[in-house]
Amino acid sequence: MKLAVFELTDCGGCALNLLFLYDRLFDILEFYEIVEFHMASSSKSKEKVDVALVTGTVSTQRDLDVLREARNRSEYLIALGTCATHGSVQGSVENAKEAFRRIYGDVKGPTKVLEPRPITEYVPVDFAIPGCPYNKEEVFQVLMNLARGVEPVAKDYPVCLECKLNEYECVLLKKGIPCLGPVTAGGCNAQCPALGLGCIGCRGPSMDANVPGLVEVLKEILPEEEIARKLRTFTRW
């Protein structure tokens, strides 16, 4: 099977995280031929691929062109990482044109700047793996499933579930630390509560998230404006 990685505007972490699979990258190479992956290879191709991984937000005209090419060339397209699935940090900018003017003044820049948006707002995707960064075990399993012809399953439970399964002390209720675990999609194995810190919501909303309920709890710890800012770091609710 042929695999391609397309990178739009992001921090480079989602592409890098694939390289952090180390030895298991070789397992993936047993099933897939990587035909395009600009961070890792100078090879370029215009051929059709079975699976495309797309990282980053659509922030420029160049990004949009690359995304459309990726969709047209691929059988199965995966939105990889929170930028691609929910917009992540740059996607939470309210008015990119105004922000651009404040930062660059009257300078035009090399390509048209668009409001940063997740790829899911522009093209249909076949599967989405959120996370900033995503859990690399998850992308490994998804690619292996696809190679075997098995449709992968999305994780729809909140971080709280994984936190409870690990028997971590609840940082929100026991220590009064702001935590977005109750409304954030799980799959990270509750990494932040494991460090005694609150979940920052980097995987985006979980299914059936009770946001008003969490806001009520957080109001006892934080001013409302800060709650809104925390919630909007990685996604627009």
Partner: protein, 412 residues
């Protein structure tokens, strides 16, 4: 006529370059950073100081620890937080871990294929598998340190203003020390390989570093001690990254600048290697940034072993120091793997009201263009256009650019 280079490969982020030729002579080289703007300075505004380092880490995946540490140092300077020496040492350890991860990535996976004439490291595996595996082992070790101290391989949130969320155990540090020692012999091999490169690119006439090895309160530029505001920042029409100059000249930051200006720190096996290849480093050609990274990789492994043992034997003071003040202004200068990184905040009542970030790749833009210009002048007309483009891309790669970082360079 304009010779367009394709989008750079085997670098982080999206960028390309063009060479302007008029009347058969190379006139200009432009590096066009195409990565979309990411507005971090705007995103920090109004946010609690406590949440800012986690956000800033997202500027870059390859060097998130550098961003976290620069951010917490700036915040601590602004709010009068003084951390205990163990916290400083653990941060230094985390930064060395990042240098190991980042240099190994660049040297073995991104730059090495140029030396052996392959499109990527994957195609090198049948013939040079051992070397690639050594590289991956070193890179994974760097990430072990990042995970232990930063909380995750990428975008950890454990590095906080005033201390760490979780502190490592002594036996974890001793394990790190042993592991680091065992990897030095692999890293030595890569130094020899990169020492074989022919001089290319411009000469780094004005290297810039932080005043201590991995951070400092001042910047050192050539002979001068300065604050970053003494540099000139210029936006350009063709790129999302602004250009920086010191007294009208392009500066150079990164491993080569560090070895040129911080030689006295480099001891042990790395010190011997630096002596052996002193002439190449002192020639200042930017291609030797690769060699400098390789020598620094050896130094990083040696320093990690020494530092981890020291922290483990001294014992760890845990906890998070609370701020004395709720308002203030502070700058954090840190050496990211690619060079000087600046975070600067004004905080009022615990919230960031003004912020500025300048990254190494942004500092290096002018030098990158000068290198492309000089090499294009040398090669234009004497080599076929395709190989000219390939050679020029190799020069860009020697800077180890981190393009995502370079696109938000701002004073609000």
């Amino acid at each position: 006529m304009i010779i367009e280079l394709d989008e750079f490969t085997r670098v982080e982020g999206i960028g390309k370059a063009e060479i302007v030729v008029e009347d058969g002579t190379v006139k200009e080289a432009r590096v066009k950073i195409l990565e979309g703007p990411r507005f971090f300075e705007v995103l920090t505004l109004g946010r609690s100081y406590w949440d800012v380092p986690d956000l800033e880490a997202r500027i870059c995946a390859i060097c998130y620890v550098a961003h976290s540490v620069a951010s917490v140092r700036a915040i601590e300077n602004a709010l009068g937080i003084e951390v205990p020496p163990t916290v400083e040492k653990l941060r230094e350890l985390a930064l060395w871990g990042e240098i190991i991860e980042s240099h190994a990535l660049h040297l073995y996976l991104l730059a090495l294929p140029d030396i052996f004439g392959y499109p990527d490291a994957i195609s090198m595996i049948p013939k040079h598998g051992e070397l690639i595996k050594e590289g991956l082992t070193i890179k994974a070790f760097g990430n072990t340190i990042r995970e232990l101290l930063g909380g995750r391989e990428i975008h950890g949130i454990n590095i906080k203003p005033g201390g760490f969320g979780r502190y490592p155990r002594e036996e974890e540090l001793e394990g790190i020390a042993k592991h680091a020692e065992s990897l030095v012999k692999f890293a030595r091999r890569i130094v020899g390989i990169f020492a074989s490169q022919e001089p290319r690119g411009a000469k780094a006439e004005i290297p810039m570093v932080t005043s201590e090895y991995l951070w400092g309160d001042d910047l050192i530029v050539g002979e001068d001690r300065i604050q970053y505001i003494e540099l000139d920042e210029v936006p350009v029409n063709y790129s999302f990254a602004k250009h920086t100059y010191y007294k009208g000249k392009p500066i150079f930051v990164g491993a080569l600048a560090r070895l040129l200006l911080k030689e006295k720190y480099i001891q042990g096996e790395a010190g011997r290697l630096l002596d052996t290849y002193k002439d190449k480093i002192e020639s200042r050609y930017v291609i030797y940034n690769n060699l400098a990274q390789a020598i620094e990789l050896v130094y990083a492994l040696e320093r990690v072993a020494e530092l981890s043992n020291k922290i483990a034997s001294e014992g760890i003071e845990k906890g998070i120091v609370e701020p004395e003040e709720k308002s203030g202004e502070g700058i954090g200068y840190v050496e990211a793997p690619r060079g000087v990184l600046v975070h600067h905040y004004r905080i009022e009542d615990g919230k960031v009201v003004w912020s500025n970030t300048i990254t190494p790749t942004a500092f290096n833009q002018g030098m990158m263009e000068l290198s492309l210009l000089e090499d294009a002048k040398k090669m234009y007309g004497s080599v076929p256009e395709e190989s000219l483009k390939k050679k020029l891309e190799e020069i860009v790669r020697a800077f180890d650019p981190c393009i995502s970082c370079s696109v938000h360079f701002v004073k609000l």
